[in-house]
């Protein structure tokens, strides 16, 4: 199965990390669709739910490492919100592994590729989301 995955990347760290994975010609599975925002702190829990509702098998949120946020502490907000959303997913009976939060710096191209590869593998094991294409 080929999972459908949305990756939310912040402009400053993780999106630049994805750029570096590209300039370094690192391979990772082509299942990821990146949506770029300025900061991981901009990701609303509703975006995550919306993506899952519309058929995403996994959602991954990436930001600058803690303590290194371009906007001082937006990533810490992201962390709180993802934790809250994870609990919500559990309550809803959706495997919380379908939502992941990772810190990837602009210099971590290799980490971007390995995190994405790993997430795709994990979602493949979980199979399609039970919500897949409800709408």
């Amino acid at each position: 199965m080929e999972p459908k995955i949305v990756a939310f990347c912040c402009k400053w760290c993780s999106s630049a990390g994805a750029d570096l994975a590209g300039t370094s010609r690192m391979k990772y599975p082509p299942n990821i669709r990146i949506i770029r925002v300025m900061c991981s702190g901009r990701i609303e829990p509703s975006y995550i739910l919306h993506a899952l509702e519309l058929g995403a098998d996994g959602v991954i949120i990436t930001g600058c490492h803690l303590g290194d946020c371009h906007y001082i502490a937006g990533n810490e907000q992201a962390k709180k919100r993802v934790e809250m959303t994870t609990e919500l997913l559990e309550t809803m009976g959706i495997d919380p592994r379908r939502l992941r939060l990772e810190w990837i710096s602009a210099s971590e191209g290799a980490r971007f590729a390995s995190v994405m590869t790993d997430f795709v593998e994990e979602i493949k094991e979980l199979g399609h989301s039970p919500l897949g294409g409800v709408s």
Binding site: G22, R25, K27, C39, L54, H70, G74, A113
Partner: protein, 602 residues
């Protein structure tokens, strides 16, 4: 709200073979043409080349495009170029959207061209969905008061103030002590020149004092700061009462002080155990007792013993002091090449044994660079003993009768030894001044792990704070030598002079805006904003015959950096981030999910 029907033009770039070699670009263009609101789609060998840019300009005019998408590389390379191109053709640059199909697609999926092509199509479709909802934005221009405030009248602060004043900017220089000069006032001589410390900086003090553009406020401190880049209202308090001024930029040059190693190596317990600064003062005031033997202990309280960091300047300073004790000044002029240095060293070895025996206990000597290392070599040549110790096994100081005793393990000889110096000098690190904590809160700038002021970016913006309009230099940031403090001061003054000289600052229009009607005045956004860009103010709301006093929040676009975290926090959805609105982001999510979205006029 944009009223006209979106007319989107999409330019898919081959980027030579970088994209075209792996993604089927003609197929992508065929697909893009079928997307809603796309009225023009084309491909270019290189969109960033002159003919590619001309194609964008021409299509905007001929096809009446009101949105443009380039699907090519990372926005980090060419977004400014494509935005400018749109503007040249009369299209607001906020109606441009970038889709990355190179770094995020062709280059990472080279082995899977079909899947890469599918992914490129989807990424562009998601971009098209967002672009249809883009709105033109105007960038706010905020006027800048062409004046500056420099905190700290040491070498760094004075240099920065003088540099700004010489550029014609009125500058307030605030010093907490009653005289200018800062830390250097404590010192006897300066490394490298060996000249009197105060004499060395007197010309600088004189220039600062004589400069008509500099208002010197000694015995003064900063009391209050309000405002933002270009428009800081500052209140300074001193003997002469309070001074209030409006300044466009602030430089923090508040310096550092020396760590007092209470409880270490008998400091505070035995007489004749002093710090490096106290030693310098004794030399300066000629109160140093007659000594035959002096021991320096490096890294006292540093590098894990109490504080974590290396203070970086103490090895050189201790060696400078040691050389002075031994009786030979540090070389007056620097040799021009390494070879001269070696000759000097050989000569030094041949000289008579020193009258004062100096031992420097160390964990490895940090005398980096050309001159410092040369000085270290000279010091060894002069007979100064360097004894290495490990952090697990540091020297122990005790007293027997009226003699100080150091018991130590000689790492080189692997034996335990003792010595009895007349004086022990502890090289302790520079530390942040106690006032820094309060200052950091007042200026809303952070302190780092080691309590020094924390720059915006360790490599790329070392003299800026994350808060615009505030800069830093000198030992307020980290331990540095005088020459380094001076170049930082020039740098900070140069950074500060950019907004001062421009006379305005322009903010990228990706800021947050509050819908006052929906705002319930809860203040969550005020609490969460990392830049203190949001304020609650009293507002009157008129409901039929009743007037209600309520609170509403508003965002200062000159201070907002556009992270969007307040948008998420707002419990009633009253905040929107320009160019990253929820409808724009969810449109992309919908396309991803295969939901047909109506992209007409909303």
């Amino acid at each position: 709200m944009e009223q006209t029907e979106p007319r989107i033009g999409v330019f898919v770039c081959h980027c030579g073979v970088n994209i075209g070699g792996f993604v089927d670009v003609p197929d992508v263009v065929r697909y893009v043409k079928t997307l809603p609101n796309v009225v023009h789609a084309d491909r270019n060998l290189y969109t960033c080349a002159d003919d590619g840019l001309a194609a964008i300009r021409d299509a905007i005019k001929e096809r009446d495009l009101n949105r443009v998408i380039v699907a090519s590389c990372t926005p980090r390379t060419h977004a400014p170029l494509f935005k400018r191109t749109c503007e040249e053709a009369g299209l607001n640059k906020y109606l441009f959207e970038f889709v990355n199909i190179r770094e995020h697609c062709s280059w990472v999926h080279m082995k899977e061209p079909e899947k890469a092509t599918e992914k490129a199509k989807m990424l562009i479709a998601m971009g098209v969905a967002k672009a249809a909802l883009l709105e033109p934005q105007e960038e706010e221009r905020v006027p800048v008061e062409p004046k500056a405030l420099v905190l700290g009248g040491g070498v760094a602060g004075m240099t920065a103030a003088l540099s700004l004043a010489n550029q014609g900017f009125e500058t307030y220089l605030v010093e907490k002590e009653d005289k200018l000069g800062g830390f250097v006032r404590n010192l006897d001589t300066l490394y490298q020149t060996g000249k009197d410390a105060l004499e060395s900086i007197t010309p600088l003090i004189d220039k600062v004092t004589a400069n008509k553009n500099i208002h010197i406020l000694t015995s003064s401190t900063l009391k209050d700061v309000e405002g933002y880049i270009g428009n800081y209202e500052v209140t300074m308090a001193g003997n002469g009462g309070e001074t209030v001024a409006k300044v466009g930029a602030i430089i923090v040059a508040t310096g550092a002080e020396e760590y007092k190693p209470a409880g270490l190596y008998g400091y505070g317990e035995y007489e004749n155990v002093v710090t490096l600064k106290e030693f310098e003062r004794m030399e300066k005031e000629k109160t140093l007792p007659a000594t035959k033997s002096v021991a320096f202990i490096q890294c006292a309280g540093a590098r894990g013993q109490v504080l974590e960091y290396c203070s970086r300047i103490c090895c050189t300073n201790a060696i400078k002091s040691a050389m002075k004790l031994v009786g030979t000044e540090a070389p007056e002029t620097l040799p021009e090449a390494g070879r001269v240095g070696r000759r000097r060293r050989r000569k030094a070895v041949a000289s008579a044994p020193p009258e004062v025996e100096v031992t420097i206990f160390n964990r490895g000597i940090t005398t980096y660079g050309v001159e410092h290392e040369l000085m270290y070599n000279n010091a060894r040549g002069m007979g100064i003993r360097f004894v290495k110790y490990t952090p697990e096994n540091p020297p122990e100081v005790s007293r027997e009768g009226d003699r100080l005793v150091i018991s130590y393990h000689n790492e080189t000889l692997k034996t335990d030894q003792t010595m009895s110096p007349d004086l022990i000098v502890l090289s302790t690190p520079l530390v942040q001044i106690p006032e820094a904590e309060e200052l950091s809160k007042m200026l809303k700038v952070p302190l780092g792990r080691d309590k020094f002021f924390f720059e915006a970016h360790v490599k790329l913006r070392p003299l800026d704070f994350a808060t615009d309009g505030i800069y830093l230099c000198g030992t307020a940031h980290a331990p540095v030598f005088i020459d380094e403090a001076i170049y930082q001061a020039y740098g900070a003054a140069s950074r500060a002079s950019i907004p001062l000289a421009n006379g305005y600052v322009q903010a990228e229009a990706i800021t947050a805006v509050v819908d006052e009607e929906r705002c319930i005045g809860c203040g969550s956004c005020v609490d969460i904003c990392p830049y203190h860009a949001i304020e609650l103010s009293e507002k009157e709301v008129i409901l039929e015959e009743i007037t209600l006093a309520t609170r509403k929040s508003s965002v200062n676009p000159a201070v907002c950096k556009g992270c969007g975290t307040c948008v998420v926090t707002c419990p009633v959805g009253a905040i929107t981030q320009r160019n990253f609105t929820t409808p724009q982001i969810t449109a992309a999510i919908k396309v991803f999910g295969g939901v047909p979205v109506s992209l007409g006029v909303s």
